[in-house]
Symmetry: C2
Subunit: 192 residues, 2 copies
């Protein structure tokens, strides 16, 4: 449904569009959504006006930029749901979502809070939350996930994970992994 590149466009235009998205991914990934649009343009080696012709507003640029990461999220959820061991799937889900969020600085903001009204975002969100709910129900039946867990708890922890993005870049990945490990530990059902 989302045609990515209008093949009717001129070649340089298509190339520039790709360069912009690439640059946006890097810049927003490293500096967060507060990075100025010009920075993206500079990084892509083009003028601001060109960028604004391709993406009329900063929001539009951001939405397009993180479309791929959203697909990655879908894949993670799908794989987790397909896992024969629901608790194993659940743990993988937590770890991989955290890693995705750690890998690019701006994505969690975009995904969790910044654009609640971008309609396909929330549609995705609903679908994914339902899927996680199903996965959690299975893991609870297997006695591995604590019985009082609700999906909002995962959302809460992902919101919290946004906070670790501000640790110095050198330690960010370690911090993210350690956070994920603790979250899993917290969600694990107490034996007995």
């Amino acid at each position: 449904m989302t045609r990515h590149l209008p093949h009717t466009a001129r070649s340089d235009a298509r190339e520039n569009r790709a360069r912009i998205l690439d640059a946006a991914c890097t810049v927003f990934g490293e500096e967060g959504l507060s990075a100025p649009v010009r920075e993206v343009a500079r990084h892509a080696g083009i003028g601001p006006a060109t960028l604004y012709r391709h993406f009329p507003t900063k929001r539009a640029l951001i939405v397009e930029t993180f479309a791929e990461q959203r697909r990655a999220c879908h894949a993670v959820v799908r794989d987790a749901l397909a896992d024969s061991d629901p608790w194993h799937g659940f743990r993988n889900l937590v770890e991989q979502i955290c890693e995705l969020h750690a890998r690019s600085r701006g994505f969690p903001d975009a995904f969790m809070t910044a654009f609640p009204e971008a309609m396909d975002f929330v549609a995705d969100r609903e679908r994914m939350l339902r899927a996680v709910t199903e996965l959690a129900r299975r893991a609870q039946r297997a006695g591995r996930l604590r019985p009082d867990f609700v999906v909002d708890d995962l959302v809460l922890m992902l919101m919290a994970h946004r906070g670790v993005q501000d640790v110095p870049p050198a330690a960010r990945f370690l911090a993210s992994r350690r956070f994920a490990a603790y979250v899993i530990e917290a969600f694990r059902a107490v034996p007995g």
Copy 2:
């Protein structure tokens, strides 16, 4: 050592200073550190220039504003250390620090990241970290805190707690408490 109000000042000046700090506490507490200085001035019912005479820069205003909250943090750590049951003290510490951070929106940012070079801040930080280390060692000896816990883990979780500040205000306190509960659950030593 920190004289709060120079008694030599004029009465209206002292009153205005107090009003400013009051307003800053409210505004930064509700909207975060990104709130404009004029907003604080408006809320205090004075002009911007007056505010800038009392606090030459936004940083200075913020530092003074959260001095009291820092004292509250000290008190929490002290109480936790004085608790005869170290694990009980540790849990209280986590809960109360989280509550303090939840109560005012800007404080965690100011405390954890924004001003690493404000020297008395880091001095405080060091002292508090040492105290928490001691408390953790005791709780570990009592077999209640997991043996692989290190102080940085608490710092990590407090960094993460900053992320929950962006949940809608109606649910923020609940979210903060639930987060604290999960953190404690994650830090608890596995029995056996």
